[in-house]
Amino acid sequence: MALPPYMTTSEKVSYYGLRIFVGLVLLFLIAPILAIMPLSFNSESFFSYPMPGFSTRWYTGGVDGFFTDPRWTGALKLSLFVAFATTVLATCLGTLAALGLSRSNIPGRAAIMAVLISPMIVPVIISAIGLFFFYAYTNLNGTLVGIILAHTALATPFVVITVTATLMSFDRTLMRAGASLGGAPHTVFFKVVLPLILPGVISGALFAFVTSFDEVIVILFIGGPEQRTLPRQMFAGIREQISPTITAAASVLIVLSTVMLVTVELLRRRGERLRGIKS
């Protein structure tokens, strides 16, 4: 792109200066994430470049490997199970509440909203000790049910916010049209409303999944010795003895979040297209 000829020297300097600065910041954002992925293929167990050789031992190498060591595979399975259960619960509860909140004339809407998104506002460490005390009285510490309930509470605000945002641009006359054509409320919901707000619901569900799958602080407080989720296993690994298997675990999670990002972005574009907003 050629610069306009009338630009003064100082304008040129600031033009290039800004571009260089922004480039460096973007590099700073992405470099740490990209830099650790190659290290997970290092044939030796240290963390510097250049790497002496290529190896997949940190993924499939028996007791070293992320996909072969029972501690890591167990953690992965547990995390997936908890995250799926959390996603189902949080998405159902959150979507219902968002549908209720989207009706305009609800008394005390602001107060209800404040309560519903409070788990997102309170620092996680505080939620963690609160849940620990509460579970100590109700004997839920160290139970799977306790973890799923805690994660669900932390995840619902994201579902409520995403689905409410989608419903803002939802044309409510469509519901009336459905009802006037003889559709029962649940028929109207499943045939008319849900297909239209589905992108928002799926985005919310993905947020819920990620919230549970990445959660580390609450599990440190309320999880029992057997409940080693993936983040907890990683945290323990970093604190005790750092091994390259952790870089493999981190790389797998980075790939997973890339997939999530692409999905949410595609859904957002589809939603905009459906509603006729040009992007």
């Binding site: 600031s14 800004l18 922004v22 910041v25 973007l26 954002l29 992405i30 740490p32 994430i33 830099a35 650790i36 290290l39 963390f47 510097s48 959150g94 219902l96 209720g100 009706r103 004339n105 609800i106 008394p107 209800i112 404040a114 519903l116 409070s118 788990p119 506002i121 309170v122 620092p123 996680v124 460490i125 505080i126 939620s127 609160g130 005390f133 009285y137 509470a153 619902t156 994201f158 985005s203 990445d214 580390v216 440190l220 983040p231 990683m234 945290f235 970093i238 604190r239 750092i242 952790i246 870089t247 981190a250 999670l253 980075i254 979040s257 890339t258 990002l261 972005e265 957002r268 992007s279």
Partner: protein, 422 residues
């Protein structure tokens, strides 16, 4: 029907019917909200209430020295308590040592007078062998600390089920013998410093994210859509990567002799810093304050950047053109016309980053040095290493209060329901 009221087929006025329909609508909406509302109240708000209660609730002495605390309530605190109190104390300690709860009593009293734990244990052991009084002699003979009126004042104070003790000590304050409030001795003051450090690190991180994020947001908002979408990936990918993964990345990169040190070496930054006398030899990065701020800035940058970006997207470029056509230099136009319009985004992004930074626990714990622990780290230590529920709850109380005040400001300035994700 002769009046002018519109009616439905069954004769009820239309207004009444409409109100009924609206009420039904609201009722249905509440039924939809109710499951989540109840769920959050029971599984989230009640636990938070329990924590807030634990910041004041202090049952160890009342439960384990019941008669003593009852009698001490009438004690005036001027002279040593009566023989009756000593007898009750001896009886309580005997019961406690049968129930193996002497350690709890010792632990609680130890918070205020750091030698009392062992003294309570020794006294209990000696009293176990004594069957009859006079108890005042027996107790004071077991350990001279019981001759001190101050000790009994501590027991009396700890003997009520609710106490301001934990909250006061979270602010480096304590109750004096006469019941007033004073600062704790110099060598035991830590928490105000911790709070100050937490605020300081959060402020520094917020500033760094603003300085780095503002130009990037400006660039993304002014570039053609296609280029901007591609560059946006650089912001969104870290945003979607979990905090733990990003902290892990920094832990690995910042190791001594690790990739970061190599990078500084190759780019000549190490050499330059050595020449300028800023440091000598290879840099020590891991477990430093610098590492904490660096990693936190990296993690929070998208949170500051995205709200600024979404405000900048709405600013029409014609304002800048107008300013320039009226004779302003580009810099002057930018400063006086563009920047003020971006302020809502700057406020939203910075406030969000500041609030989130206050609660950081994982990152300072993993990449920071021992002296970089923030308030959340101390909550964890009080809970998991010391088993001091009261102290961790009181620190939680302080952190929660600070967070809620800031969210109140956020809500007044921006509105919490305008918070966007991704």
């Amino acid at each position: 029907m002769t009046d002018n009221v519109m009616r439905t087929a069954d004769g009820t006025p239309l207004k009444v019917k409409l109100r009924q329909a609206e009420r039904r609508e609201v009722r249905r909406a509440f039924m939809l909200i109710a499951p989540l509302f109840l769920f959050i109240v029971i599984s989230f708000l009640i636990p938070i209430m329990v924590m807030l209660k634990n910041a004041f609730h202090d049952p160890d002495i009342v439960n384990n020295l019941p008669q003593t605390s009852e009698l001490l309530r009438q004690w005036d605190g001027k002279a040593l308590p009566s023989e009756e109190v000593f007898a009750a104390f001896a009886a309580d300690l005997k019961t406690a040592s049968k129930a193996r709860t002497v350690a709890l009593v010792g632990k609680r009293l130890n918070y205020e007078v750091p030698t009392l734990k062992s003294k309570v244990t020794i006294t209990a052991r000696k009293l176990d062998k004594i069957e009859t009084g006079p108890w005042m002699e027996a107790v004071t003979a077991a350990d001279p600390v019981w001759k001190d009126v101050g000790t009994w004042a501590v027991v009396k104070r700890a003997g009520s089920a609710f106490t301001p003790y934990y909250l006061l000590s979270a602010l480096d304050l304590r109750q004096s013998v006469d019941g007033g409030i004073e600062r704790t001795p110099e060598n035991r003051r830590i928490y105000l410093q911790v709070l100050g450090r937490t605020l300081g690190i959060s402020l520094l991180v917020t500033l760094c994210t603003l300085i780095l994020g503002y130009p990037v947001a400006f660039m993304l908002a002014t570039l053609p859509q296609r280029t901007a979408s591609i560059l946006m990936i650089f912001v969104l990918l870290p945003f979607w990567t979990s905090l733990l993964v990003r902290t892990t990345a920094w832990t690995i990169l910042l190791q001594d002799g690790g990739a970061m040190a190599q990078f500084l070496h190759i780019t000549g930054i190490t050499w330059t810093a050595n020449m300028l006398g800023l440091m000598s030899g290879e840099p020590q990065l891991f477990k430093t304050r610098f590492a904490t701020v660096l990693a936190m800035t990296h993690i929070q940058l998208p949170f500051t950047l995205l709200p600024i970006y979404s405000v900048m997207k709405t600013i029409s470029p014609t304002y800048m053109r107008a300013a320039k056509s009226l004779g302003a230099t580009p810099f002057h136009a930018f400063r006086t016309v563009y920047v003020p319009q971006t302020m809502p985004g700057v406020a939203a992004g910075c406030l969000l980053t500041f609030i989130l930074s206050l609660g950081y626990f994982i990152t300072p714990a993993l990449v920071g040095g021992g002296s970089d622990n923030m308030i959340a780290g101390f909550i964890d230590t009080a809970m998991n290493s010391e088993g001091n529920w009261g102290k961790s709850s009181a620190l939680g109380f302080v952190l929660l209060t600070a967070t809620l005040i800031l969210y109140y400001v956020y809500n007044r300035l921006i509105g919490i329901d305008k918070m966007k994700l991704g």
